[in-house]
Amino acid sequence: MNFKIDTYNMDSGVPVITLDGEVDVYTAPQLKQQMVSLLESGTTHMVIDLTNVEYFDSTALGVLIGGLKRIRERDGNLSLICPSPRIRRVFEITGLDKIFDIYDNAEEARSGIAALR
């Protein structure tokens, strides 16, 4: 199956979930589970790295929206890394690019988050 999910921490401690392959109705539940367990551990900032994602559907968008809502309730934020124009297009045509902070790479995400804190 063409999907992988991993989590690592930035030097600042902010967790980054990296996704690989197709995030859809079949695989998005794994993303949701991972986000929920990070939220349960008390995280206030979180990054989702979509660099290696080649398909991202409405189910996956729904998981991100739910996660953003919960993390904002504790005054945190959820940032995305999404250099691929094809995947970014899904956010743009739904207008969701305006509610997420989207960066081109991990370095930009790091400085963006540092500026917010």
Partner: protein, 139 residues
């Protein structure tokens, strides 16, 4: 065949389950790649068909229709792709408490389909739903 306007037909039948939606997307990628679509238009078709199948899968889950199937029929002419997505996943009846949930993926899915193809109609049929979408090539 295509020459005299009679469409070529590719028909796919899959179990109405999350793990098979990807098969429909790949098949439609193959169909759309063989037409006069741009790279972006091929992506649009793949995403729209994926969303339609995903909605069917979600209703099959809600309606506990474990044995339901999705038929994806592509009718191909030189300048037009028509895709019929037909399920027997039960009626799409929203329980009152669940309406207006904006982040419901199904609303996002419907929004995406509308934005990605040129025409879309959703018709209830006996025990399921028929979604018809049309995308014009060479525009």
């Amino acid at each position: 065949m295509e020459a005299n306007g009679e469409p070529a037909v590719v028909e796919l039948r899959i179990p109405c389950k999350p793990e098979y939606v990807g098969v429909a997307r790949l098949a439609l990628l193959g169909v759309a790649s063989r037409m006069r679509f741009s790279y972006d238009q091929v992506e649009d078709v793949r995403l729209a068909v994926g969303e339609a199948c995903t909605t069917s899968v979600e209703w099959a889950t809600k309606n506990r229709r474990d044995d339901s199937e999705i038929t994806v029929r592509s009718s191909i002419t030189d300048d037009k792709l028509t895709v019929d997505i037909i399920d027997d996943a039960g009626e799409r009846e929203e329980s009152p408490g669940e309406q207006n949930k904006e982040s419901d993926p199904q609303n996002l899915g419907a929004l995406l389909i509308t934005l990605l193809v040129d025409e879309v109609t959703v018709t209830p049929r006996n025990g399921g739903t028929h979604v018809k979408m049309v995308k014009y090539a060479g525009q």
